[in-house]
Amino acid sequence: MGGLVDWLLAALVLGAAAWTLAAPTGFAAVVGFVGFGLLVTLAWVRLGAVDVALTEAAIGAGATGVILLMAVVRLRGGAEEVSAATPGRAVMVAAGLLAGGVGLALALAVLALPDPAPGLAAAAMARRGELGLGNPVAAVLMGYRGLDTLLESVVLVFAVLAVWSMAPDRRWGGIPGPRFPRQEAGPLALLARLLLPIGLVIGIHVAWVGAEAPGGKFQGGTILAAMWVLAWVAGLVQPPAIASQAVRLALVAGPLAFLLAGFAGMALGEGFLAWPPGLAKPMILLVEAAMTLSVAAALALLVAGPPERAA
């Protein structure tokens, strides 16, 4: 039996999820979702997964929330179409039974998981020293399961190009997203000016400490991206044109550095994606720096969307 705090938190998570589904307006639903993300962040802390908590706060609640909020503003109307397309009672009941059945089976299956749990905690802890990393999660991401991380950073490049490619032909090469007027005064301008330098420092710090403590390139990169989005929405900066060579290089720097490091390991006789002993830590930090840049660029550009106006 979990403590009262955990039961309460779990109930709140479910309450926020139910609100997100049932909220009367799209805006209220998105607000509910951001609240859901923050509550789940707390759940991750309670589950002893601080690295995940940071990522959830930065990406799950933060970046996803921003994208959905920007979308909700632009997706107006359609109430009649929505009510016409909403399924009838029979479908609702069938969907409820199906979903409930899956949920119930899942709960039973989780209760049937073996005790003690099989897992890799001991192995992951024991061998992280070979990578010179104190944080076992970083050791998994950069070491044991490096291929996942490499491919995932490639997925981000796919995603950015996929988003860009949804633009009309004539906008190709142009500047993504809507234009925001420059805010000289007001809360947004103040927030942007105050938060920007602090956020930059925090973002770089979180990325940097990832080797030893909770943190890392994804969390740090997201904070950096968030700072850029803030400055963009406040009208302080413009997104770069998607034809810009610098943008393309920033996007591929991380995965390309990871790939090259992988081949360096091969050339040194250790094998693809192996970190040579002694050089492991500095090489990992170098790749992580490039990855932080690429993650920040990719997330910011995913928020900005496809090109909408000429450069």
Partner: protein, 499 residues
């Protein structure tokens, strides 16, 4: 099993080459992307051939232990017969589509970079990378990342034309793909919780018929079926595949659905113990049979050529599922036949369907429409494209000699050999229906054009040759002696015996 074998480095190259090529193509842009794509896909074909030759020569799977970490902590790449055969199929189809795309997807003169061509060439490489990751991956979560790569690459290719009407069908496609991915991921969470690893070979040793394993398999299967558009989850596929430009449709129908199928085989033949797998297989094959009949019947009634070809994909995917109850029936001889039949069906359909979409695209481009009832004169204006369509149709019907015939014959005899004659009846019935819709197209194309019709613009010879070459490969697969397909059996787990 988990160590690096001689020749394992080939697997690294087969994955890293398209990944690096895609990154460079994206960074350098414009016409350079096209050049990189052509070079990388050419080299990729050589590599895939070398991998198949190495696996065949060694008589055992190739493996590479990434970063020197042994599973379960680390990841490995592996190529057994299944992976090698699918990798080679994918490499050849990708190369053919790239050659086809040189005309259709060229960057227009006077601009540095244009949306559709740049997206096409970059995502062609992305697709090559995703398929290599899906075929060579040895870990279920690594395969999840491969599935997501595939989703992005496939969706962008499907949207290439940027027609307004398309966003709805592509959004439906995306939802199905994403739900499929999430259900798959849910299954991996349960499997890790139950067995402490996601390595396929280790799971094969550890997984039993316990509740978490069975529920995981059910969820993952449902997810993969959504991605493969198996009946009754097929509704998203035809508009999404038919709405794409021909080169993209060829890849989506020919290759993308096969990646999910390989994952399904990994799950059902490797991870799941034989008893529950054998119990569930008739259900999947039943859905496959329904797909064959329903898909073919709807294809028969289509008025648009591209939708007809897309519904034919719904039907042909069904055949793949017939292999499961035959492989799992416990008769080693029939299992080997059904296994080869299933993989040959996947490969010959890839070539035939790519040929069909490319030639249908050429016909539609020249006539200015793709109404099946008004194809008159197409045969005279572009005989090569119509012959390509017809040859590909022979393979889909299962007329000898063709790859499709051999595939369906193997499945049929395996069905009779294990006393499951009803699958044989479905195979025969599906062949007749396929004959019906292919005949409609061919008969229409061979009639004289209406007198008032404008003379169709004959397409360039190059793209027509590519379509014909693909169709010829799908036929030629039926001329290869069966013994030389021993490749695909390498590394297949044998029921009740060592792999």
């Amino acid at each position: 099993m988990s160590g690096t074998t001689p020749g394992g480095w080939l697997l690294v190259l087969a994955l890293a080459l398209p990944v690096g090529g895609m990154l460079l193509a994206f960074a350098l842009g414009g016409r350079t992307a096209e050049r990189i794509a052509l070079g990388v896909l050419g080299l990729g074909t050589v590599l895939a051939g070398m991998i198949a030759a190495e696996v065949y020569a060694a008589g055992a799977p190739l493996a590479y232990r990434l970063g020197g970490w042994a599973p379960p902590l680390g990841l490995r790449l592996q190529a057994d017969g299944l992976a090698a055969a699918m990798l080679l199929t994918a490499a050849l189809v990708l190369l053919a589509v790239a050659l086809f795309g040189r005309a259709a997807q060229a960057t227009p003169p006077g601009v540095q970079e244009a949306r559709a061509p740049f997206t096409f060439w970059t995502f062609l490489l992305a697709l090559a990378a995703s398929l290599a990751a899906a075929f060579l991956g040895g870990d279920l979560f690594n395969l999840f990342v491969a599935l997501e790569m595939l989703t992005f690459a496939a969706l962008s290719l499907a949207c290439l034309d940027g027609r307004p009407s398309q966003f709805r069908s592509e959004l439906r496609y995306l939802f199905f793909a994403l739900i499929g991915s999430v259900l798959y991921l849910l299954g991996t969470a349960l499997l890790y919780g139950a067995h402490g690893t996601l390595d396929i070979a280790l799971l094969a040793e550890r997984a039993g018929a316990d509740l978490p394993t069975l529920l995981a398999a059910a969820l993952m299967t449902a997810g993969l079926l959504a991605k493969m558009a198996l009946f009754p989850l097929h509704l998203w596929l035809p508009p999404a595949h038919a709405g794409a430009p021909p080169a993209a449709s060829a890849l989506l129908s020919g290759l993308v659905v096969k990646a999910a199928f390989v994952l399904l085989l990994r799950l059902w033949i490797w991870v799941l113990p034989p008893v529950p797998a054998g119990a569930g297989a008739p259900l999947l094959a039943g859905l496959g049979a329904a797909a064959i009949l329903v898909g073919s019947l709807i294809a028969l009634r289509q008025e648009r050529l591209k939708l007809l070809v897309a519904y034919s994909t719904v039907a042909q995917i069904g055949y793949l599922f017939l292999m499961l109850p035959l492989v799992l029936a416990g008769d080693p001889e029939a299992a080997a036949r059904a296994w080869l039949g299933g993989i040959l069906q996947a490969a010959s359909h890839a070539f035939a369907k790519a040929a069909m979409f490319l030639s249908a695209g050429l016909v539609a481009g020249a006539l200015g429409h793709d109404r099946v009832a008004e194809l008159g004169g197409a045969g005279r204006a572009m005989p090569m494209a119509v012959i390509a369509f017809g040859l590909a149709g022979l393979s889909l019907m299962g007329i000898p000699p063709s790859g499709g015939f051999t595939a369906k014959w193997l499945l049929l005899t395996a069905a009779l050999g294990t006393g499951q004659w009803w699958w044989a009846a479905v195979i025969l019935g599906g062949g007749l229906l396929t004959g019906g819709y292919v005949y409609r197209v061919l008969a229409g194309s061979l009639t004289a054009p209406p007198a008032a019709a404008p003379r169709p613009e004959p397409p360039a010879q190059g793209p027509e040759r590519v379509a014909l070459a693909l169709a010829l490969v799908s036929v030629a697969l039926g001329l290869v002696p069966l013994a030389s397909f021993g490749l695909v059996q390498i590394g297949r787990p044998i029921l009740g015996g060592a792999p």
